[in-house]
């Protein structure tokens, strides 16, 4: 489902959206350019946040022990589905 909304944007931004769609062919429509840009921003922000959380995990002995435990437990099973060259 798509929803129509109105945003007040500076002329510079409106022009850039138009250029990205028509000039650079980033997406087929200006709506699609906005969608792509917002998705990319959301993804980057989330990944920045989660990179910090995963860095914490790397320093968390309990997480390390759990990961090593799973890796060791599945070692033989993993070899069966990841054949050597």
């Amino acid at each position: 489902m798509r929803t129509k909304r109105t945003y007040n944007l500076p002329e510079r931004t409106v022009r850039t959206v138009r250029e990205l769609a028509a000039g650079y062919g980033v997406a087929a429509t200006q709506d699609a350019v906005i969608e792509l840009a917002v998705d990319e921003l959301a993804r980057r922000l989330r990944e920045d946040d989660e990179a910090a959380r995963w860095a914490e995990a790397a320093a968390d002995p309990a997480f390390g022990a759990e990961s090593t435990g799973v890796e060791e437990a599945f070692a033989a099973a993993d070899l069966e589905t990841w054949p050597r060259a």
Binding site: A21, L36, A42, E50, S67, A73, F74, A76, A77, E80
Partner: protein, 134 residues
């Protein structure tokens, strides 16, 4: 090791016990529970993709982890589905019939979301081909 699984039996969303000893004919210990998440046709290959379930803790702490409560799909204790530890295993390692099935749509959605998140499929990245020149 004999498995009582049949290919006619739907495996997706089943919680199964997986024998993880080095050799399939060694039945002592090394049994872990896992949630089958692969789509049904894949199981015809003799393989299944699973997320290990940890009963060592009860609360999700990192992205890709989903809580599974005692009583759900044969869980005897609260646990955590480790979607970030996704792996494909031989169905020959599955011991006995499934302990149960995850039937709760909310829990299925949570696992699907965690997998999509972990694999970067939920928000298309420009570098992954979402950027398509018209």
């Amino acid at each position: 090791m004999a498995t009582s699984l049949t290919l006619a039996e739907a495996l997706r969303w089943a919680v199964v016990r997986v024998a993880l000893d080095p050799t399939l004919d060694h039945e002592q210990g090394g049994i872990r529970r896992a949630l089958v998440v692969s789509y049904e046709p894949f199981h015809r290959s003799g393989l299944a993709t699973v997320c290990p379930i940890s009963a060592a803790r009860t609360d999700p702490r990192y992205p890709g982890e989903v809580a599974i409560a005692a009583g759900v799909a044969g869980q005897s204790r609260d646990g955590v589905i480790l979607c970030q530890q996704l792996r494909t295993i031989s169905l020959g390692r599955v011991v006995g019939p499934p302990d149960g099935r995850v039937a709760d749509p909310a829990l299925r959605r949570a696992v699907r979301a965690a997998l999509a998140h972990h694999l970067g499929l939920d928000i298309p990245a420009v570098g992954d081909g979402a950027f398509v020149r018209a």
